[in-house]
């Protein structure tokens, strides 16, 4: 990764300017490739009057929107044209600070083009696809938020998966015993926080490698939840321990009646709303409060923070525990928000995709939610892959988040800015 000096204003050397230029051009070429791909692969083989039909009403929704029918070829040509224009502008002038927003736009256009092409001659329920996308984004975004809280303070957290699993298990048992979803939820959050404490003690107090500490928590969480699960809650005589119930769907008044948007965004259980709330809240905390500045300074330059009187260890403990609680909360989504029971290893790697979403979102809550939506979209699409008009194995759609993260990490299209002291144990002198 590049050095931490990016935040300090220094006169641009020739090398940096060259690198900037190279990145600008790479990005532009990337946009042009999207245009070319849309043109040559999607648009070229279409019959002239092929139509795309998007159903805009998610299944089971009472708010009906008319279907969206359009000529595929025309739209694809427009998309390719816009991408080509953006690419040309990027190569010649560059979008500067807006590059990533433009990248997101190009990505959305490209995906839309792909979907139009894949639907051409048939129909796809776009409303349902997007609604599922929003739901699937929840655990990924909450996992990413957990990672952000930890890593912004300089502690790498690859234990999101384990923390989530613990949260899912504990919330199931507590909600089943108390017959209260709220108590279950709180118990799951506390359990996640407890895992955060373990991560903190191992990696901050004993200074063991944070990745090893995370691995310990992952192995332990999978072990203990599966152990207790197969010993108790999966057995029929203890069935009552595995009936937590589920949070009901909430229809936001008025807003949920907006056609298309309403059912997609405003008719969910509390987790979707909580996700949006936490993303905004943590963004505010991190970037607009003294607390957030301190937390970030500990992740960027702990020694300097220490000199200024910030207690590095305490800040890191707090961050890791909060991160654990966030992951625990995300874990309760699986049991109380999505399936209404606990199953062994039910998180199924979502914690790791959350980690990927964090990186993809550049260690930033809003960016991570964007990544969560993107990954959630491919998750949603992979379920429906068999309904598309083109043969595309769902497994390949499922790979997209991982491939995208590798591409981002490798800096093919610009490079993320990870906290400078991420993963480095702090030694007080």
């Amino acid at each position: 990764m590049s050095t931490a000096s990016e935040t300090i204003v220094i006169p641009m050397s020739k090398g940096i300017r060259n690198r900037e230029r190279r990145r600008r051009i790479t990005m532009g070429v990337f946009f042009l490739l999207a245009a070319a791909f849309t043109w040559l692969v999607f648009a070229v083989n279409l019959t002239p009057n092929a139509m795309t039909r998007f159903v805009m009403t998610p299944g089971g929704s009472s708010t009906v929107a008319p279907d969206w029918i359009f000529p595929t070829g025309v739209y694809l040509n427009i998309i390719a044209g816009i991408c080509a224009m953006l690419g040309t502008f990027q190569i010649v002038r560059g979008f500067g600070k807006r590059t990533y927003s433009v990248l997101a736009l190009v990505a959305i256009l490209f995906i839309f083009g792909f979907l139009s092409w894949a639907t051409s001659g048939g129909q796809t329920n776009l409303g349902g696809l997007l609604r599922v996308m929003v739901v699937r984004a929840v655990p990924l975004t909450l996992g990413a938020l957990s990672g952000i809280l930890c890593e912004r303070a300089g502690v790498v957290n690859i234990a999101i998966e384990g923390m989530m699993l613990t949260g899912a298990f504990v919330s199931t048992v507590f909600a089943s015993l108390s017959h209260s979803l709220v108590i279950g939820l709180l118990a799951g959050v506390v359990a996640g926080g407890f895992m955060g404490v373990i991560h903190g003690v191992l990696s901050i107090k004993y200074k063991i490698n944070q990745i090893i500490s995370g691995t310990v928590i992952n192995i332990f969480s999978i072990g203990i939840t599966s152990y207790l699960s197969s010993k108790y809650i999966q057995r029929s005589e203890f069935q009552y321990l595995n009936e937590p119930g589920m949070f009901p769907q909430i229809e936001v008044p008025v807003l949920s009646k907006i056609p298309f948007i309403g059912p997609i965004l405003f008719h969910h259980n509390i987790y979707v709303f909580a996700m949006v709330f936490f993303v905004l809240f943590i963004t505010f905390l991190l970037y607009k409060t003294r607390w957030g500045l301190r937390l970030r300074s500990v992740g960027e330059h702990p020694k300097a923070a220490d000199t200024l009187g910030i207690n590095v260890f305490r800040t890191r403990y707090m961050a890791v525990i909060l991160g654990g609680m966030m992951a625990g909360f995300g874990g309760t989504y699986f049991s109380l928000g999505s399936s209404g029971r606990f199953d062994e290893v039910m998180t199924a790697g979502r914690g790791f995709i959350g980690l990927a979403a964090m990186i993809f979102g550049n260690w930033n809550p809003i960016g991570s939610m964007g990544a969560g939506f993107l990954f959630g979209f491919f998750d949603s699409l992979s379920v429906k892959a068999s309904l598309l008009q083109v043969p595309l194995p769902s497994e390949f759609l499922g790979m997209v988040p991982y491939l995208a993260t590798i591409v981002v990490l490798a800096g093919v299209v610009g490079r993320g800015q990870m906290p400078a002291a991420d993963g480095v144990p702090y030694e007080k002198e």
């Binding site: 192995i219 152990y227 497994e395 590798i406």
Partner: protein, 413 residues
Amino acid sequence: MSPEKPEQIKKSGIAIFWDEFSRSNLTVIILAILTGIILGGVLVAATTTEVYAAFKVSLWGGLKLAFTTAWNTYVALFTGSVGNPEKIRLAFESGDPLMIRRAINPFFESLVQTTPYIFAGLAVALGFRVGLFNIGAEGQIFIGAITGVWAGYAIHGLPPIIHIPVALLFGALGGAIWGFVPGFLKAKTGAHEVITTIMMNYIAFRLSDWLLKGPMGDPTEYTPKTPWILESAQLPKLFDLPIRFHIGFFVALLMAVLVYLLLFKTTWGLELRMVGSNPNAARYAGIKITMSTVIAMVLSGALAGLAGANEVLGVNHRLIPAFSSGYGFDSIALALLGKSHPFGVILSALLFGFLRNGARSMQLTVGVPIDIVSILQAMILAFIAAPAIIRTIYRLREPKHAEDIVSLQSWKG
């Protein structure tokens, strides 16, 4: 850790022994394993309903039952992993070869479980030695199994003496490719191998799902499976059924020796280790860090790939979904337990293999879920990684040398 002052005062023999014993790394390792096992026993007792019932009657009765519960669990674990001594004695007395094989089967089955652990543990250990955290052994195992099984069923007309090495080589090659990508990305762009290998894991899982359902699936089966490998590609078994013990174990031992020779007896190995322990010094010494990184990841991937190939060629003889069940992740704990030394890896692989196999029959006989093994492994890993915990619990002395044998490059690489 202040430098030791020369001891002037005469010490008794016991004191000297205690001093040495207390500072030794081996003590910490043994105590870590013991502590893990004790805590595991406590957990088993604490999750048994009968124990609570006994505690309600009397404290002593409760303690006694708690102890017997834990004890019986570990007895079941032991007999499950090495065999029931009584049964073995009876079998040998009767002289019936089938009975003997059945009686000694648990022991050899444990070795069968140990074999992939050795390969995967070597893979992770090799990475550690070069300062790389190969968390992607699991994915490399999958890819190695895929390429290995393909070579096993698709290449026809070779005699076993050629077919087996070819199939193993394919497995190693598959794993090597999966290791090369993160290694290359790390060397060229600085992308941290922990994240890239995690991502490569999931890509491997998806890829194998797809291959099993589609191109490599056996069309005559309803569930996704590959065809059976040819007999010429099967790793020879040393005994008749039910013993599944095959020569893969010896291939694994051979690999451990080769890794040892490479790391500790060649200049090349010295360079690799130097990159791991002090990359700056290595750079000043003119060692190409990027090259070493790529080579280490390729070798590491190849070893993990062998683990996968070994499983399909020696045990399963075909590839089924989710066949690995966590060898790759366990091997991280295993490599650390073995202090990233090839021979240490063999010992800890034996421990893990016996635990895993014993746990399976323990689940059947005393009803303690197999997942207790993961819990034990996690605890042992925590104690090994943080020796300070063990040293505090048992009031051991500080070691003379820093004991952190694994010096990983920081997150930023």
